[in-house]
């Protein structure tokens, strides 16, 4: 990698936004670095400036207030694993933590980084989408919120503009009658990139489904919500046939690639099964 890179470590979010905007496209924000450092060393990224976010301690917090679980963008998977707020408000998040990288990577990677890298196989993305997460984006002009589902562009791109930093993710606290689950398929027992993933969220009231979301990962250029799932499931009793139908719809809606981890055909087959399994777990947890 080149020698000309310059390192910056702003002390506040506002400063970081300003810096990123003034440095322009040659600047790369650096969070946990578990992807970026590899790309830098391979020469796959050659920024002139690295803007380290490591000085932004506010972004490492997890808070639970008024039924909203706010996860700072620099929160690590390891932090989620031991957080009492997460255990109380959204234990389902641990489904993604469990399949995430190695223990070492879980100590460094960040939730924000996982989202902003915008890899279609990122494990937090489908789960947070299914949970209906919102994100907060800090800009030099101030902060604004948006649904996570609207955050992604095409493959590996987001709607972050110049000087924008994803600062937090917000999910609502779990309430009675709802449940969520994430099923990821990897080739080995630990530390494998997700070949296909499905996250489901359902809400049940008096035996009827009143809300449902299914999001898929690694089977299209970005993670996405299967719109047909909500239509098919709301009003149903979430019977096995209902779930099977949604599984088929999920396979239909996916547009996977063939690569060394699996063919498009296998991924489509997998995502059908994983969708059903995620829905089954979510249904179970909703009880």
């Amino acid at each position: 990698m080149g020698r000309s890179v310059e390192y910056h470590r702003p002390g506040s979010l506002a400063e970081a936004c300003e810096l990123l905007r003034s440095l322009g496209p040659e600047a790369l924000p650096l969070a946990g670095g578990t992807d970026v450092v590899v790309d830098l060393r391979r020469g796959a990224m050659t920024p002139r400036h690295l803007v380290s976010l490591s000085g932004l301690d506010d972004l490492r917090e997890i808070t639970l207030e008024d039924g909203q679980l706010r996860i700072g963008a620099l929160v690590t998977p390891a932090q989620l694993q031991t957080s009492s707020e997460v255990a109380l408000a959204r234990p389902e998040l641990l489904d993604a933590v469990r399949v995430f990288g190695t223990p070492q990577v879980r100590n460094r990677a960040t939730v924000g980084g996982n989202l902003c890298t915008a890899a279609s196989c990122a494990d937090f993305t489908p789960l947070l989408m299914a949970l209906g997460a919102h994100i907060t984006i800090a800009t030099p002009e101030g902060s604004r919120g948006m649904p996570l589902a609207e955050f992604f562009g095409d493959h590996r791109s987001t709607h972050l503009g110049p000087g924008h930093i994803l600062s937090e993710v917000i999910v609502s606290e779990r309430t009675r009658g709802e449940g969520a689950a994430y099923e990821a398929f990897g080739l080995r027992a630990s530390n494998s990139i997700t070949v296909a993933g499905a996250a489901a969220h359902v809400r049940m009231e008096e035996g009827r489904c009143t809300g449902a979301r299914l999001a898929l990962g690694a089977v299209a250029p970005t993670a996405f919500l299967v719109q047909a799932a909500e239509t098919a499931l709301v009003g149903s009793s979430l019977g096995d046939d209902d779930l099977a139908g949604v599984g088929a719809a999920a396979a239909e809606a996916s547009a996977p690639l063939s690569d060394i981890r699996g063919s498009a055909e296998h991924r489509r087959e997998l995502v059908e099964r994983l969708s059903i399994r995620a829905l089954e777990s979510a249904r179970e947890r909703a009880r």
């Binding site: 990698m1 080149g2 020698r3 890179v5 310059e6 390192y7 470590r9 650096l30 670095g33 578990t34 450092v37 590899v38 830098l40 060393r41 690295l50 380290s52 490591s54 390891a78 990288g101 190695t102 223990p103 070492q104 990577v105 100590n107 460094r108 398929f185 080739l187 080995r188 027992a189 630990s190 530390n191 494998s192 990139i193 060394i260 981890r261 699996g262 063919s263 296998h266 087959e269 997998l270 099964r273 994983l274």
Partner: protein
């Protein structure tokens, strides 16, 4: 521009000026000299660089150093006699030791927060620390039982042999003080890098190095014009490689030029400035296409017509007659996978051209002598002017068993610059270099009588060889030679083809040539058993090799306890309760294997003994140093050989020291390949030790006034056999020897029996003084919907003769189990249509983690090999050979369809299940 960084490392404040893009790993190793933290992949996949950041494990390679400003870092050097370090030593959790520092840091962090981890919690915590040697069993034992002494297996009629002593270098390795080649830094040392071909097949029309030479910091650039025009390789009959490509490149990765510069970054930039003009040639990647008329030819020599590098035609007995006697004949086709050794340590060498024009080379090699031999040939020096020193070696598995381009180029660059030169592969470069397991395409045909007795075997194997010979000629012969050693085959025919393709050369890998034929053979045997309505174990017992047999291909099997191994796994696995009684998706399967205990003949023709040992007793008589040329690459030979020497001398194991694998100070040994060291090195050590013992007894005889033949020595005492109370300390007798007669030394050597093997072409391959036998039962759980296979248990049994160090033997067997599980389920080097590797990293080429490792129940059956030291023979390779067959048979059992292709990945399993559901699939029994 560099920035000043201050951080706390192991409690001390450190201030370093660092480049903004420097990683913590670079700063620790290069600036602070803390080389206990290792470089295994550079991409956060292997965990060898694990350090603690404010108490939590992180990959130092993924952290920019500036990010840890003001924070506390703990490295292996910060731990001194920590209970986890002690547990790793006592439990045998260390083999090569390269992953050890990182693993200890992860383990320490775990027990700091959870002092009583369950095995699952331990496996989860260690899942980011890859280990290729141990199979994780003993690592997890050490983590879970970190504050308890281990229950080590011990069974011995001797004093030292048969005891599970920890590795002789355990303390060095757990402390991070063991020096691996990449840890060496010499004054004025330069770095070197190699430019390799981006094309699979091309002519080189011109090379312009002028811009690279002009780059500041570059000290030398070499191309074919600077290197001797000598072909080299492994087997003299197949020398087909040149140091740097002269006019043609034959695979993506073929070496073209090399540079030396003040650092690696400048080397890389210099490589980018070398201009090579190519004329592309058609390439061929498929071995069957390569043999077709009109296919692009890789080598012009007429002996390699149709790209056939090696052709084996063996016919022992009369297979047609054998098949005509059979009640059932089965034939099936199997496809293997291209698998790489992936030791945790990438290759590295440091060359120093001395002022007297001699060369000193430090290298991570399995074979110091062969490296010396080839370097002397290539450099035009007498062997005595080439000193090759093996440092600690972070695993080899065959990948470091031949001279490599780093060794040759670092020597040439050091000669040219007059400075020491270090060259090391990145993980990616190492994968491109190749030399892994040949992918084999095998047609296996077996005939049997109604009672299961095999009447004839015909094996046809095509080995995808890659662009050069490497060890391929041997692989092609081994693929057939070892087949008749396990079962009594009256008639055997083998047709082998090792074929050149425009891919990285395949070489020697643990089990050399045999895993795929075993996968095929064990598969067909199960098909026959089903046809005949016989239990698979019964069929194997019916045909099992017996002791003192001359096989149909004229190999001499001495000790053989295959039957005992079969019975042991049948009983311990609960086979009778499970086979045929498991629900769909669950399966059980068996496989057998075995290997040579050292090749009967050397790689190049010679008459000298294969293994040689010297022992020098310290002048005070209280310690003894063994000098031996064999290489401990993690398998534990330095420990086993000193055990043998101590036993033979009659001293305590704690008296032993060792100097190994240094061509200047140790007598020649052929090195670590073909599982030769325990038997051959062990015999040499025993002989040397017995010579020392004789001399000590002579002096003791004077002291005790008893004839020497009435004396014996054990555990540091010399005593009268008939009256053991009458004794003198061994050390006193030895010290007196020195005072009266000068240095107390012993020498020993070993040559295999001269008569080994028949007279047919290629009859030397497969010969050995002794053979090991192994059996494995695998139990699997198949997710029928996703196709994912989980191996839930391996039950294995081994005939290794006397287990000289039972803990080390277990470690080898467990490591073999997990490595082969990994090969069976996960591993394959995949190429694109241009011959480029699609998965050249540990991110994309997956190997088993601690969480993939199943429970393993290992039994070592009683056995004694008369040709081995104290009855010992090999265990490192034979133990790998039953595993793939066992797993494939278990998966076939679980899904009801025959598995015939490796790796057995989810996609393949699903395809088989779909075929079966559609009714078009071959049921288990069809051919």
């Amino acid at each position: 521009m560099k920035k000043l960084l201050s951080l706390r490392v192991n409690g001390d404040l450190a201030e370093v000026a660092v480049q903004p893009d420097a990683t913590l790993l670079q700063v620790l190793r290069d600036d602070l000299g803390l080389t206990g933290t290792k470089v295994g992949c550079g991409s956060g996949d292997c965990g060898t660089c694990t350090v603690l950041l404010d108490g939590e494990p992180v990959n130092a390679c993924l952290l920019l150093a500036l990010e840890v400003e003001g924070r506390a870092i703990e490295t292996i050097e910060g731990l001194v006699d920590h209970p986890v370090q002690k547990a790793f030593m006592a439990h045998g959790a260390i083999q090569c030791g390269f992953c050890t520092p990182g693993a200890i840091m992860s383990a320490k962090a775990l027990i700091d927060r959870n002092p009583r981890p369950t095995r699952e919690e331990a496996a989860e915590a260690m899942a980011g620390n890859l280990c290729r040697c141990t199979g994780y069993q003993k690592i997890l034992d050490a983590v879970v039982h970190w504050d308890e002494p281990p229950a080590v297996p011990e069974k011995t009629d001797h004093t030292v042999v048969g005891r599970s002593v920890p590795r002789i270098d355990a303390r060095e390795l757990v402390s991070g003080r063991g020096v691996f080649t990449d840890d060496i830094r010499l004054p004025g040392m330069l770095y070197g890098k190699i430019l390799t071909s981006p094309h699979a097949h091309a002519k080189i029309l011109a090379i312009d190095t002028s811009r690279a030479e002009a780059l500041e910091g570059v000290k030398a650039v070499i191309t074919a014009a600077d290197v001797p025009e000598t072909f080299y390789g492994v087997s003299p009959a197949r020398y087909d490689e040149q140091v740097l490509a002269k006019d043609r490149v034959r695979y993506v990765g073929d070496e073209i030029a090399a540079v030396a510069a003040v650092d690696e970054e400048i080397c890389r930039r210099a490589l980018d400035l070398i201009e090579v003009e190519y004329e592309l040639l058609p390439a061929v990647f498929d071995p069957f296409e390569a043999m077709d008329e009109g296919a692009p030819q890789l080598h012009d020599h007429p002996r390699f017509e149709n790209n056939i590098n090696t052709r084996v035609e063996w016919h022992f007995g009369d297979v047609e007659e054998g098949f005509s006697q059979a009640d059932v004949v089965r034939e099936h086709t199997f496809t293997g996978n291209r698998v790489y050794q992936q030791p945790m340590e990438p290759h590295c060498s440091v060359a120093r051209w001395e002022s007297d024009q001699r060369l000193t080379m430090w290298t991570a090699t399995q074979v110091v002598h062969y490296v010396q031999h080839q370097l002397a040939r290539l450099l035009g020096l007498p062997e005595g002017d080439v000193r090759v020193i093996m440092t600690h070696c972070g695993g080899g598995f065959g990948g470091k068993a031949e001279v490599n381009p780093l060794e040759i180029c670092s020597a040439l660059l050091s000669r040219k610059t007059g400075m020491p030169v270090k060259m090391r592969y990145t993980r990616e470069e190492m994968i491109h270099h190749g030399r892994g397991r040949h992918k084999q395409f095998i047609k296996m045909k077996i005939g049997a009588k109604k009672d299961g007795a095999i009447t004839a075997v015909h094996e046809e194997a095509v080995l995808e060889g890659g662009a050069y010979s490497s060890f391929g000629i041997v692989a092609a012969y081994y693929a057939g030679a070892m087949v008749p050693t396990l079962y009594k085959l009256p008639h055997f025919r083998y047709d082998g083809y090792r074929v050149y393709t425009n891919l990285p050369a395949c070489g020697a890998m643990r089990g050399h040539g045999c895993p795929h034929p075993r996968f095929a053979f064990e598969g067909v045997l199960d098909m026959l058993a089903e046809d005949l309505g016989l239990d698979p174990i019964e069929v194997r017992l019916k045909n099992a090799m017996e002791p003192n047999t001359r096989t149909v291909n004229e190999l001499e099997v001495g000790s053989c306890e295959l039957e005992a191994c079969l019975e042991a796994v049948r009983d311990r696995s609960g086979w009778r309760e499970k086979k045929g009684k498991l629900p769909p998706g669950k399966g059980i399967g068996i496989g057998c294997g075995g290997f040579v205990s050292g090749a009967g003949y050397p790689i190049y023709r010679s008459k000298f003994p294969h293994s040689n040992a010297l022992i020098r007793v310290t002048e005070d008589g209280r310690a003894a140093t063994l000098f031996i040329g064999e290489a401990d690459i993690g398998q534990g030979s330095n420990t086993v050989l000193t055990q043998v020497a101590a036993e033979a001398m009659g001293v305590e194991y704690t008296a032993m020291r060792i100097v190994a694998a240094d061509t200047e100070t140790t007598p020649r040994g052929l090195g670590t390949y073909s599982s030769r060291v325990t038997l051959m090195g062990g015999n040499a050590c025993r002989m040397a030790g017995e010579e020392v013992r004789r001399q000590v007894l002579e002096v003791a005889s004077e002291l005790l006034d008893v004839p020497a033949e009435d004396l014996d020595a054990r555990a540091g005492q010399v005593f009268v056999k008939a009256d053991p109370v009458r004794a003198v300390p061994w050390a006193d007798a030895a010290a007196r020897y020195f005072s009266e007669r000068g240095p107390l030394v012993g020498k020993g050597w070993y040559s295999p029996p001269e008569s080994l093997g028949g007279s047919h072409k290629g009859s030397t391959v497969g010969t050995s003084p002794a053979y090991s036998f192994s059996v494995c039962v695998a139990e699997v759980d198949v997710d029928m919907e996703t196709g994912k296979v989980t191996v839930t248990k391996l039950t294995d049994a081994h005939d290794v003769g006397t287990a000289i160090n039972p803990m080390a033997v277990e470690g080898q067997c467990e490591g073999a189990g997990v490595m082969m599980l990994s090969e069976a389920l996960l591993e394959d080097v995949v190429f694109d249509e241009e011959g480029r590797i699609r998965n050249p990293s540990l991110h994309d080429y997956l190997i088993a983690t601690a969480r993939d490792a199943p429970e393993i129940d290992t039994t070592v059956v009683p056995s004694y090999e008369p040709r081995g030291p104290y009855g010992g023979k090999e265990c490192g390779e034979g133990s790998t050979l039953p595993v793939i067959g066992a797993i494939a048979n278990a998966v076939s059992d679980a899904i009801g369809v025959r598995v015939s292709e490796l790796p057995i990945n989810p996609e393949r399993v699903r395809a088989l299940i779909r075929q079966k559901e559609a009714g078009s699939g071959s049921p288990q029994t069809s051919s």
